[in-house]
């Protein structure tokens, strides 16, 4: 066995015997340390490192931190965590202790520990930069240092003037030289400003200037910097003025100038308008003035000195005492508005006392009227109103107005020229259309200025008719309303015109003022006028109602004789007493009806003469002329009266409505006054009455048409035209037949004369005639009546014969009467004829023998009269 092997064996042996090194696991170590803690062998805190493999004592940690801080000057705790490898929590705790141990040297800010030496360094750096740039913004520094700008400023505050040679202003650092330069600029600008200025605008300008000087690289200077510089200057008294709200700079120079200006104006004029103050730059003029002039009075647009009020007071007092009026604006300066005037008037003692004492009133803000004046005008106006009422409301000036009136009217018309005329014309055009009788507007204008009676009538008629239709439409409306509509209350314009005419003073005011002054005055007076007008109308109205009733009664009486007949048909004519106008219409209807019946009655008698053409014609014409004309006249008259009543115009009631006989001229004028188409038709009728031919029948239609116009304003035209065309080609007979067929015309049933009715009619007629004959004393007039009576007795037909036809009529009776009676009749007739021929032949010469002959003839006739009467009456009795 070799030695080497043995050696190795020994080595191996020893290696195996050697003590193996002991290794502890980490866990065992941790447990050991814990055990040591438990056993209080380690009696101080131990901190773990983040890796968990190291323990560190707080002292050591602190020591390491302090070392680090000293090395860097500024360390964030996060960084310390990395450096020391200890949890942030412990690092923070220790950081607090470190800082509290050395409060002067260290500070803990936003997770960073910063030493004073670091700040010193920073300040030095800043200073260097500042000296280069002449200004740095704090924000910039703060951003570069990653700290709050507030902190930076607090830090810099401590070092300003020592380490940092500069000045801190509104977040900017400036070098003294820079500050001096800018402050010089500010001073210059502030001194240059002479009017109130918004400083920020000024600073804006300065900023631009600075930037231009610094070039593109220049930093924008904060306006607050200017402001603080400026404030300093103001404090030092280098710039004079007052600062409001921090930005409104009012230089002393300006304030002085302003005050002087206001003072001088106010003392010179004793008023000053707010406008002018505003122009001077005083934004709250009232407060300004009130604080300066305690005794002054603020108005709406101006501020006045009491002396102004005294002046006005005197003027107003004067006006009131004189019983006149005054426009306060004329006394006050021109810049015063009407509101000012009203306000200042309230300050006047005289006005107050006048208002209290009811001696005067303020109208339209600025006008003061004494009550005396108003009363005067009102009285005159009331008189005017009478005229107005009579003349109608459309502004026609009655003829009894003075020349001045006409003139003024023309003047006003011409001054308002086109538009007024136009409107008026338009109105008239409308009316013109409806009336159809007008053609040219020019003519109307002329007529207007030269009042014409007939024209007036026409107008009246028109008004009335329109009013009529109004009433018809609004029949259900209450009466007052109807009146209101009817009255055509005077317009303000009209009142104004009137006032203008009555008080020519107002003219002096010029047109524009005219409106402003007259408007309120007219407004004031209008209700009073209307009231009085209404009252008067009411009075007249009631009066008229009574009259109307009276009139109707008369009509009724007049119709009494036929009423017995009519009663049979009365069911169709229910009389509405409340609506008297309708009553009138009813009367028309009755009249027309009666006329129609009579016409038929008489027409029957004409049958007797059918063989004798000439006599027939004569009789025919006579019938129309006497009966129809009187009926027509009656209708016309009633229509007219009614229109007048409607218009509230007084009607002189004719004492005896039976005796309405109109001359042809009168008839024409009356007819012309009727409204619209009625007038036209009526004219035709009148013509027909005077003319010849069959168109006379129109008369009948007139009566009906009158009804139509009032009753059936709407849908008559068709029926009317139809009937008119019929009538044109027809005759009485034709018409009577039409009526007899029971045609419904305008809601009325015109019945044919039946036997019964005829008999009654005849009976009454006969009775009438008998009475007349027995009462008759005039021998001439007796004859026709006797003849008529005889006709009734013989033929039982009513005859209306003119004188010319009497002989024929008498000869016709020849067969029917006995010899003696016929003889008496013929004798009487011839005697009458001779008498009449004598009378007509007589020249009125007294010497002539004709009068004797007339007398003798008359005596003869009178002698014959009893015989004649006996002839008739006897038979009647028998």
């Amino acid at each position: 066995m070799d030695a080497e092997l043995l050696e190795l064996q020994k080595q191996f042996e020893s290696a195996q015997q050697a003590k193996s090194s002991i290794r502890l696991s980490e866990r065992n170590v941790v447990e050991l340390v814990q055990k040591l803690h438990e056993l209080h062998i380690i009696d101080f805190d131990l901190l773990h490192t983040v890796s968990g493999k190291e323990y560190i004592t707080p002292e050591q940690l602190r020591h390491e931190m302090v070392l680090e801080i000293k090395k860097l000057g500024r360390v964030s705790l996060i960084d310390l965590v990395d450096i020391t490898g200890v949890d942030l929590y412990h690092v923070e705790n220790q950081a607090h202790r470190v800082v509290s141990d050395d409060p002067n040297g260290l500070m803990l800010i936003q997770g960073e520990i910063i030493s004073q030496s670091y700040w010193d360094n920073v300040a030095e750096e800043i200073n260097e930069r500042l000296q280069e740039c002449s200004q740095i913004s704090l924000a910039e520094i703060a951003a570069s240092l990653n700290v709050g700008s507030e902190f930076v400023s607090s830090m810099l505050d401590a070092r300003l003037g020592t380490l940092v040679k500069g000045r801190l202003e509104g977040g900017q650092l400036y070098t003294p030289a820079y500050v001096a330069r800018v402050s010089a600029m500010v001073r210059g600008a502030a001194r240059g400003v002479t009017v109130p200025t918004n400083l920020s605008a000024l600073w804006g300008a300065l900023q631009q200037l600075l930037q231009a000087m610094d070039g593109a690289g220049g930093v924008a200077t904060e306006s607050s910097f200017f402001q603080s510089l400026f404030n300093e200057l103001v404090k030092e008294g280098e710039v004079l003025g007052s600062l409001r709200a921090g930005v409104h700079w009012t230089p002393t120079v300006f304030a002085i100038a302003q005050r002087e200006c206001v003072d001088s104006f106010f003392s010179q004029n004793s008023f000053i308008s707010y406008d002018s103050l505003q122009k001077l730059g005083i934004s709250q003029p009232v407060q300004f003035l009130q604080s300066r002039y305690a005794e002054g009075i603020p108005l709406v647009t101006a501020f006045v000195h009491p002396s102004m009020i005294e002046m006005l007071d005197a003027a107003v007092e004067d006006a009131i005492e004189r019983g006149s009026w005054i426009d306060s604006l004329s006394v006050l300066p021109t810049s015063f508005g009407s509101e000012d005037a009203s306000k200042i008037l309230l300050h006047c003692d005289s006005v107050q006392s006048a208002l209290k004492g009811n001696k005067g009133m303020i109208l339209g803000d600025s006008y003061v009227f004494s009550n005396g004046f108003i009363k005067d005008v009102y009285d005159r106006m009331e008189k005017e109103m009478e005229v107005f009422r009579l003349s109608g409301p459309s502004g026609v000036i009655p003829s009894d107005d003075s020349h001045l009136v006409t003139e003024a009217k023309i003047r006003i018309d011409s001054s308002r020229s086109g538009e007024v005329n136009e409107t008026v014309n338009e109105k008239r055009k409308k009316k013109g259309k409806s009336s159809g009788s007008r053609t040219a507007d020019i003519v109307i204008d002329d007529e207007e200025i030269i009042p014409m009676k007939s024209k007036k009538n026409q107008r009246k008629g028109k008004e009335a008719s329109s009013a009529l239709s109004d009433i018809k439409k609004g029949a259900k409306k209450d009466l007052a309303k109807m009146q209101e509509d009817d009255l055509n209350i005077p317009s303000e314009d009209w009142i104004m015109q009137k006032i203008l005419i009555l008080v020519p003073d107002f003219e002096e005011q010029g047109l524009e003022d005219l409106q402003t002054i007259l408007g309120p005055l007219a407004n004031h007076m209008r209700p009073m006028l209307i009231n009085s007008l209404k009252e008067k109308r009411k009075m007249l109205f009631t009066e008229n109602v009574v009259k109307m009733k009276h009139l109707l009664d008369n009509l009724q009486k007049k119709l009494d004789e036929v009423c017995t007949v009519m009663i049979a048909y009365d069911c169709q004519f229910i009389i509405y007493i409340q609506y008297f106008d309708i009553l009138v219409i009813e009367c028309y209807v009755q009249c027309a009806f009666l006329a129609f019946l009579n016409m038929q009655l008489y027409e029957k008698a004409l049958d007797l003469f059918e063989d004798d053409q000439s006599t027939s014609v004569v009789l025919h014409r006579h019938l129309l002329r006497t009966m129809a004309a009187s009926i027509g006249d009656m209708l016309f008259h009633n229509l007219d009266m009614r229109n007048k009543l409607k218009n509230g115009i007084k009607v002189e009631e004719s004492p005896n409505s039976e005796s309405i006989t109109l001359g042809s001229a009168e008839r024409t004028s009356l007819v012309k006054s009727f409204p619209g188409s009625l007038s036209k038709k009526a004219l035709a009728v009148v013509e027909a009455l005077e003319g010849k031919g069959q168109s006379r029948v129109v008369l009948m239609w007139l009566g009906v048409e009158g009804l139509d116009y009032t009753l059936l304003a709407c849908n008559t035209s068709l029926v009317l035209s139809l009937s008119l065309s019929d009538v044109a080609g027809g005759s009485i007979h034709d018409f009577a037949q039409r009526g007899g067929r029971g045609e419904v015309v305008f809601g009325l049933v015109l019945k044919k004369l039946d036997k019964k009715l005829e008999r009654t009619l005849l009976h009454s007629y006969r009775k009438d005639l008998t009475a007349q004959v027995s009462a008759e004393t005039d021998p001439v007039a007796l004859l026709p009546k006797v003849v008529s009576l005889l006709y009734i007795q013989v033929h039982s037909k009513a005859l209306q014969a003119p004188g010319r036809a009497i002989s024929v009529a008498v000869s016709r009776l020849k067969d029917k009467l006995d010899e003696s009676a016929y003889k008496i009749l013929t004798e009487y007739q011839t005697a009458t004829v001779t008498l009449l021929s004598l009378v007509s032949a007589s020249t009125g010469d007294e010497e002539d023998c004709t009068s004797d002959r007339i007398l003798s003839k008359r005596e003869l006739l009178e002698n014959l009269m009893p015989a004649l009467k006996g002839l008739v009456l006897g038979t009647t009795q028998s």
């Binding site: 092997l5 190795l8 064996q9 080595q11 191996f12 195996q16 193996s20 090194s21 002991i22």
Partner: protein, 174 residues
Amino acid sequence: MEGWDPNTKSTLTQIPLLTTKAGPRDGAAWTTRLKEEYKALIAYTQMNKSNDNDWFRISAANSEGTRWTGKCWYVHNLLKYEFDLQFDIPVTYPSTAPELELPQLDGKTQKMYRGGKICLTVHFKPLWAKNSPRFGIAHALCLGLAPWLAAEVPILVDSGMIKHKDDATSTSES
């Protein structure tokens, strides 16, 4: 070298490799080989000691150095389980790996041939063959016995097949 835990691997690489290819019958060459074996064992033992991982004691039972005896142990749950270790150097050594025997555990586990020879992992043989003749006794212990002990002892202890000697005495006493 896959199939081995990293500790084993690192340890294995630190054991010095052998160079001489000689078996017990090769005379002087065997002696040389035996010297190298010793050096490797010394290095391995020192390595274990420095790592506080000492786990066996062996010594040559004859002068030729063909039979080795000793002890090996394993610490489980803070208890040290110690077993007898013995093996012979086969004639075909180093082509054939020595068969390690733990006679005390014979019949107690399935991972063992009759006579207490431990069953090595499938990875052992190819590895050994590949590294022959550079692997020696130290390598065989490191690659074979150490992993076997680590794997089998806890199972054996848990199943109650083996008991700690203190327990055994206490139970025997009781």
